[in-house]
């Protein structure tokens, strides 16, 4: 559909580009296949193989399968709920957070949820890229870890700079081929490691409980689940991104995790590049290393820039360029200092899994429960309109999020509970429950949850404070 063919009124002016502050217009909306491929492009990376490999060394193959299935179902449910909000409102996660946490809340929680972590992911995956390229061509000066991390980071900035079309274009080309190559690499690894018989005989030296493995699966991608609206907003129908998200998680993520676990058990480590090179898949190994990281990392940078752009008043492309170049330089520095150490990555994962999920818990509670309690029809929830009032701060949402995070951290929750229920889930559930209880109780008591309100102008910016 072209702009001229569209019959839907679109009064918004997109001053920052890529619809950072305003809803995605009808002529920019994409098919469910497109959304599915972009989601899958994010998923298809080396990091997911490392997660699968890490699980295998702690739990054995059967436990990895259980953990992957249960963890991915949890992620699929959370991500589908969040993606629906984006598909329905046509706004990015940070645009949606304006309605939940208030205008200033969208700054703070957007940056906490995506601005910093996704930029961090961008840096670390650029560094990973350097490590992979170094493994593939150790003698080449361009494959030195810091150098490869630098040019890899800059390469990934290109598609993020183009915007959603750039992300989608790369995903179309890469995703099916990546799936084939990962399968080929894993089978090669299993063969060189001693065959299928060895896989089920393997028992880890110090096995960890299944709940810990599930936590790791959930924690590895929970941030992606909560920001699924960044891509889902481009969908034509509200349920499209939910379905696309759930399918890629339950089918492909489970597959990647289990395949990586098989490779790791077979070869005694996640030697993916090694297995591919041993099988003569040199070209494929380069393809996986370069494009696997690229389709994921450009999305990291894209989402990070979206969240910062809520309050940094420059064009989105300029911001992507600044963040991308800064990230590539930091990746280069990481290559010099940490070299092949994986410790920063593991620490980073742990932090994500604890404090970020409650942000989504409050979002889900407000959209699905509190708005329904207030009698707002689903398609009208968070709908943008010029002159519509949005809160500057929703203090109940802020408080609920911090309580959820504190529970997940173990400050307000017994360790025995966290040993059974993954902390990421505890955080989401607690923030969800606390928000509903407080919001409904305060509403019945006639106490406002909001501190200040402002009206939106045609640029999607608040212009006039209505009341203190």
């Amino acid at each position: 559909m072209s702009r001229e063919e569209s019959t839907e009124a679109y009064p918004w002016k997109d001053i920052r580009g890529d619809y950072v502050l305003v809803p995605v217009p009808p002529w920019e909306r994409r098919t469910i296949m497109n959304i599915f491929l972009v989601y899958t492009g994010v998923l298809s990376c080396i990091a997911v193989l490392w997660v699968g490999g890490g699980l295998a060394t702690q739990g054995g193959l059967m436990n990895v399968i259980y953990a992957a299935v249960i963890g991915c179902i949890i992620e699929a449910i959370i991500g589908a709920l969040c993606a629906y909000v984006g598909g329905s409102t046509k706004q990015s996660t940070y645009g949606i957070l304006r309605h939940v946490y208030g205008w200033y809340g969208s700054w703070l929680f957007g940056v906490l949820l995506s601005g910093i972590p996704n930029w961090g992911w961008f840096v670390y995956q650029s560094w990973f890229f350097g490590v992979m390229i170094h493994d593939l061509a150790p003698g080449n000066p361009l494959a030195d870890v810091p150098i490869a991390a630098l040019w890899g980071g800059l390469l990934m900035t290109v598609t993020a700079y183009i915007g959603y079309a750039g992300l989608a274009f790369l995903s179309y080309i890469v995703v099916p081929a990546y799936f084939i190559l990962v399968t080929a690499g894993c089978f090669a690894g299993v063969h060189f490691g001693g065959g299928f018989e060895k896989l089920f005989e393997f028992t880890p030296q110090t096995p960890v409980p299944l709940t810990i493995l599930i936590t790791q699966v959930v924690g590895s991608y929970i941030c992606g689940a909560i920001i699924s609206s960044d891509i889902g907003r481009f969908a034509r129908k509200p349920w499209h991104p939910s379905l696309a998200w759930a399918v890629q998680l339950v089918v492909l993520n489970v597959y990647y995790l289990v395949a990586a676990a098989m490779l790791t058990i077979g070869m005694g480590g996640t030697y993916f590049s090694k297995a591919m090179l041993m099988a003569g898949l040199g070209l494929g190994a380069y393809f996986v290393a370069i494009f696997g990281q690229w389709t994921t990392n450009d999305n990291n940078l894209y989402s990070s820039a979206l969240s910062w752009n809520m309050f940094i008043p420059i064009k989105k492309r300029t911001l992507v360029l600044i963040l991308g170049v800064a990230g590539a330089i930091y990746a280069w520095y990481t290559g010099i200092t940490a070299y092949t150490s994986l410790e920063p990555f593991v620490n980073f994962l742990g932090m994500l899994g604890t404090w970020l999920p409650p942000i989504g818990g409050v979002l889900i509670a407000d959209f699905y429960v509190f708005q329904a309690y207030k009698g707002v029809p689903r398609h009208e929830r968070y709908k943008m309109a010029i002159g519509k009032e949005i809160p500057l701060v929703n203090w109940v949402a802020w408080l609920s999020m911090f309580i959820g995070g504190a529970c997940a951290q173990g400050w307000l929750m017994p360790a025995s509970v966290l040993a059974v229920i993954p902390p990421a889930i505890v955080g989401i559930l607690m923030s969800f429950i606390v928000y509903i209880i407080l919001a409904v109780a305060l509403d019945k008591a006639g106490v406002s949850m909001y501190i200040g309100k402002a009206k939106l102008n045609e640029y999607g910016l608040p212009v006039k404070e209505v009341s203190a």
Partner: protein, 135 residues
């Protein structure tokens, strides 16, 4: 109901891709007994090309608007191209063609043709039907 004029070429290209997918699939079944690792990859690639092209044919033949035809061409054209590309990268590796190199060559050729046809479908949709490369 007659097929839309704009759908004739993509339908033909997808149909040839289906045949290529079938060839890879048959190769996979043939090598089944003596090289399990190669066989699984042959079957996966063959099925992917077959399914993506098959659904592509169905969609372009059913479509009545140029935009819908272009949409199907872009989506399935890219998928077939990428699946073929994956096949090419796998079948040049001796590990997967062990024991039956002639079969490997056949699969490599079929994947290459499928990739070229997928790309041709995308180019056709972009140049003739004027749809975006990422619909």
């Amino acid at each position: 109901m007659p097929i839309h004029e704009s759908a004739k070429l993509p339908a033909l290209l997808f149909t040839i891709s289906i045949i290529m997918g079938l060839i890879v699939l048959v190769v996979g079944v043939t090598v089944f007994s003596y090289w399990i690792y190669g066989e699984i990859i042959y079957i996966i690639v063959g099925l992917m090309i077959l399914v993506f092209s098959g659904i592509g044919v169905g969609r372009v033949v059913k479509a009545r608007e140029t935009f819908k035809i272009g949409e199907a061409c872009i989506t399935h054209g890219w998928w077939v191209f990428s699946s073929g590309l994956g096949g090419i990268m796998v079948y040049i590796a001796p590990f997967f063609t062990k024991g039956a190199p002639q079969m490997g060559v056949m699969a490599l050729l079929s994947s290459t043709i499928a990739a070229i046809l997928g790309l041709a479908t995308v180019v056709y949709a972009r140049s003739k039907l004027k749809v975006s490369l990422t619909i």
